[in-house]
Symmetry: C2
Subunit: 247 residues, 2 copies
């Protein structure tokens, strides 16, 4: 049974999220429907990570098994053809070994979060960034972000619905750059807790406003108490950029 | 009578273009309607340049006269409030002297054009760039673009409907950068002919595909014949970035 790995881009605003749900169209379901239309009938496609409604992806990865072999080129073309009315594109298809697993084989995931600071309503970036109305303190947010680096218990930054067994994670990258009023956060780790990036950014934004100081982050981490950290940033600014697998 | 200058961002996909037309909503009309809703009844707002349907703006400029003085801050807020269901935002409002004219006072205009090279359909950049399916020859396009610099008769790159008296223009910037499969063209001149940027980019793209060579540009310019140059690039990739006035 051949197994395929697909790399996927989508506009999260059009979907209830990655995962199939009783109500509303999910990205997973749209792709499964396209596979069914191709008579490929996979049982299920397995994504590298779940994304919430409104969260975008430039490099989500999924795998699935099909009964007969296809060329990767034609599978990509056929899927994109059936997805043409969706805001989903298959960027790449690769045949992988049967022990490849989109979620469990991943050794790292990279997210970006975009905040735009300006007074006027967003137009070209509507639904693609979190708008704030005043400039944020870049250096303070950078100092705050650096406190997330390394091994920590991220309980204070996990959603109450999070089903992960452990909140202990190692942050490999926690970076922030500013380009003309746009703040771009980059986070990379083996895996993330539910809402972890949005909770970290919601907290860093309060540091940028001067309502917390960078040195509050270690205290929040140590507390392991969600109520000590800042609110959850909106989904619009979050991009699931890349999943990394062993070469 | 106070005169105001506004700087405007819009998503061109939602409008028939800048200019008021008998059929369909234009950006000009949407802003005039907002001014009317504010009981400001300007005769007309005058834009620095006309943009076609599908062409975006990050920095279109317009002026208008109103009967009574407003604070620039409140005028911006009020206009954006009335424009909240539109894909138009007023970035800035300034009171200007009665001899300021959005179109005739401008000393330069800057446009960008974005081409994205990839096989998969565009999702996050849908309607925001011209998609090509194969990589383009960056160096050849850069060499081609450089031939547009300086003083030329741009008749070969003007639309047959263009109403400009003269096709003689001086190109101050004709630049091209590539960032991960995205080609960003920048053009700056005092003024442009109708479809000039799209016709130059349509020609440079053929150079990028090897169907023309860079040294064909001087020949096309000399011919003054529209049929000698390449086709008009689609509006989606064009951004009216900035209008420059004397300080």
């Amino acid at each position: 049974v051949p197994r395929y790995k697909i790399t996927i881009e989508y506009d999260g605003a059009y979907y209830v999220g990655w995962q199939r749900q009783p109500r509303g169209l999910s990205v997973q379901q749209a792709i499964e429907d396209a596979l069914t239309a191709l008579h490929l009938h996979p049982v299920e496609i397995v994504g590298a990570g779940r994304t919430d409604s409104g969260v975008h992806a430039c490099g989500q990865v999924a795998h699935f098994d099909v009964e007969r072999k296809w060329s990767c080129f034609h599978l990509t073309q056929a899927l994109n053809s059936f997805l043409r009315d969706q805001r989903i594109a298959i960027i790449k298809t690769e045949e992988v070994s049967p022990d490849f697993h989109a979620r469990f084989s991943a050794i790292a995931r990279r997210y970006e979060y975009h905040i735009i600071s300006r007074r006027a309503p967003l137009v070209l970036e509507l639904g693609r960034a979190w708008q704030v109305y005043k400039p944020l303190d870049l250096e303070a947010m950078q100092k705050g972000a650096a406190h997330f680096l390394g091994f920590h218990d991220f309980s204070a930054f996990r959603d109450s619905q999070c089903q992960s067994q452990s909140a202990e994670k190692t942050m490999e990258i926690a970076d922030l750059q500013e380009i003309r009023g746009r703040y771009i956060f980059t986070f990379k780790a083996r895996s993330f807790l539910h809402h972890q990036v949005r909770n970290m950014v919601g907290t860093l934004k309060l540091i940028g406003e001067g309502r917390f100081v960078p040195d509050d982050i270690p205290r929040m981490l140590e507390s392991k108490d969600r109520k000590q950290a800042g609110p959850t940033a909106p989904p619009d600014g979050l991009y699931f950029m890349e999943v990394i697998y062993p070469t």
